[in-house]
Symmetry: C2
Subunit: 473 residues, 2 copies
Amino acid sequence: MNTPHLPPLLPEVAQRPVPPAFLAALQARFGEQLSTALVVREQHGRDESAFDVPPPSAVVFAQNTQDVSDAVTLAAQYRVPVIPFGVGSSLEGHLLAVQGGISLDVSRMNQVLSINAEDLTVTVQPGVTRKQLNDEIKSTGLFFPIDPGADATIGGMSATRASGTNAVRYGTMRENVLALEVVTASGEVIRTGTRAKKSSAGYDLTRLIVGSEGTLGVITEVTVKLYPLPEAVMAATCSFPTLADAVNTTIQIIQMGVPIARCELLDENTIRMVNAHSKLSLPESSMLLLEFHGSPDGVKEQVALVQDIANEHGAAAFAWAETPEERTRLWTARHNAYFAGVQSRPGCKAITTDTCVPISHLADALLDSVTEAREAGLPYFMVGHVGDGNFHMGYLIDPNKPEERALAEQLNHQLVTRALKLGGTCTGEHGVGLHKQGFLVEETGNGAVEMMRTIKRALDPHNILNPGKIFTL
Amino acid sequence: MNTPHLPPLLPEVAQRPVPPAFLAALQARFGEQLSTALVVREQHGRDESAFDVPPPSAVVFAQNTQDVSDAVTLAAQYRVPVIPFGVGSSLEGHLLAVQGGISLDVSRMNQVLSINAEDLTVTVQPGVTRKQLNDEIKSTGLFFPIDPGADATIGGMSATRASGTNAVRYGTMRENVLALEVVTASGEVIRTGTRAKKSSAGYDLTRLIVGSEGTLGVITEVTVKLYPLPEAVMAATCSFPTLADAVNTTIQIIQMGVPIARCELLDENTIRMVNAHSKLSLPESSMLLLEFHGSPDGVKEQVALVQDIANEHGAAAFAWAETPEERTRLWTARHNAYFAGVQSRPGCKAITTDTCVPISHLADALLDSVTEAREAGLPYFMVGHVGDGNFHMGYLIDPNKPEERALAEQLNHQLVTRALKLGGTCTGEHGVGLHKQGFLVEETGNGAVEMMRTIKRALDPHNILNPGKIFTL
């Protein structure tokens, strides 16, 4: 989901100095690949979050791994923070120069390096976006399923351990990144993993870097798994009398092991916003958006099973998206739910949530959260990758009314606390960034966060790689 | 595979002192849970590898997390190595006291702590074995698929990132461990992960510990995924005119995305050994052992597809294992292939390999390796989890003939070098332990191994947790 946040407070850490000699050295090395223009810095000094932070002092546009290595080496020498940047679609303030420093833009590193169709893998530079990747491999009959909504870069998606609508079947970046090339805090280039499907060769550095939000290294190459395009794809919407019916249908689908490819939920309130925004006329009640992948017979079997389950919960008939174009329209409407929400209240900002809970607790986690939002009287939208137990609330607040912001943060706090009690996580797919640092400690305990800090200190002794994200040192 | 090794050389590291005061403190804390009897120490001083190393100075039988924490705390105080021990089925010398110290036996921590059938998860103590786990959850209609052959503990399987025959469909321990409780090098108890299916909450400590071979922490609790027992299961064997035909059939099955549950290969030579050992009369030619999971129709569809592919490669008719008993007999014979191999040459030892390559290179990797073994004239067996691109050679040497050992190690070296060139890994599932430390550097480079060392030094500053495994410091 492509969703700005309004955080309660930034961790209070001073901006670190960016010595003129460092900028001069960068200028000498990078020439026109360096920009200090305010407009460029400002564009790199924000992401989809809405923190108010001074922009970075400069932006380096890397064109290859050597550029990344040289930029980081110089930054290490001068102890200057380096913040990797893809397309700026992250949601938790990951890209903000909270301690000053430079932005390292890898969007020009956008080559698909090698397509190994016969192994179902592809190796790309970090600035390749997911849509670009799928375009470039179209002729192979394969696809890359991870779809967080935004047309994010593969590097950024790796760094935040992204997932999205297809994860219920195909997993997240955690399961789909096989190997990385990474520039470490000293500027050294290392490789993790291989193209083999499995390995027991030492510490799993690949999965340590995936989700590390740019704090342990700069990703300069990513090898991911691909999947054969399914022979048959069917997509449908299905409306339910109550939100609980839709949620309980989802729970049963997952518990029965149906290999559903997408299972998304929008509540009545959100459907209304989506209808207005995308000029649709979906029935205004809680709705599941479903997609099935497989052989023609396999898909039929899945559909029959899911229809039975849905019917038991009072579902209306499935409305099928018969053509690829209709499917695209359906999923575009889903992906635009955030914008539909924000536009429903002109001038508002969204404070969004990202909990994920064990599937049996989805009803407890989700229904109470929606009830609390309704009772609070704050406009909201609700969308969910519910097949994974993951859903997002977006509280639509007037940014000029501190009491609304406080109310939204309070609702968020109640929601996260509930999810953690139910065995869940404070962030299913967006990452910790700036906004969830307190929740991370609540979730995993001081001991685990202290272990993370110990690793960070060891691998980045001068704390130059995206400092202040996930935790402060 | 349950396979001893004969390594070329142990890394030369001195045994570290185990002060009498430390043993006295252990005695005071653990009483009858401590053993210094030679027979007990010797039993804990070896695993399925065949290194000749002095046994640990003592064995602590932990009964709960507090015991583990207290033992590690004392060891930290006295700087004594601690080697976690489950059932002793590891293959790469993981359990050997190469630097001295104590064995920390967790096999009495064998409780299934909570079955969350409705979430498809279970939380167990580390000493629970995979067969025990499947017995205890039988009534839920769920199962835990990871099957490395040996009845290993879930703790040990986590520590070595184990996989086995079902991994081609269900993944390895990497994909199936959701959360851990771990005792760190200071004796602190931490938790990693949650029961949520996905999370972006900070560094992926769960997957850092999985596969760390006891060097970063002692696992005291594991939460793993479960799967609904498939409605239909069919297993079959299928013989091929040549080894190449069997391998190429496998490659096509995987490339077409067939969700096969098991796809195992034995060559003609190995079939002969298995027939003799398990009193079977399998046709003596290269053979795939296959298993299909799914709905009845889904299984039929998979079978039809695979039969078509196999027929194109000249396969004989499938021989079906019709009953659960026949299936068990088939897989037992497969799991006993190692013993069949070793018994085929009385008094021999097996030096085994564990490479895994991208699926398109399986033929290159496997056929050349078998040819080299044949040409060298050394007796061998060959079994493979070929659906994953993973196979094992076992060179059957006379331990009294150094020239045979040297030849086997040379064949192993050629085989690993080839796999690495093809984009593969030196160990698909057994781990690095003592035997593959050189190959690890070849595979991933000095930079990545140095990063592993940096993490180890930071998290275990006195190098007490299973020191000398994966790498020496």
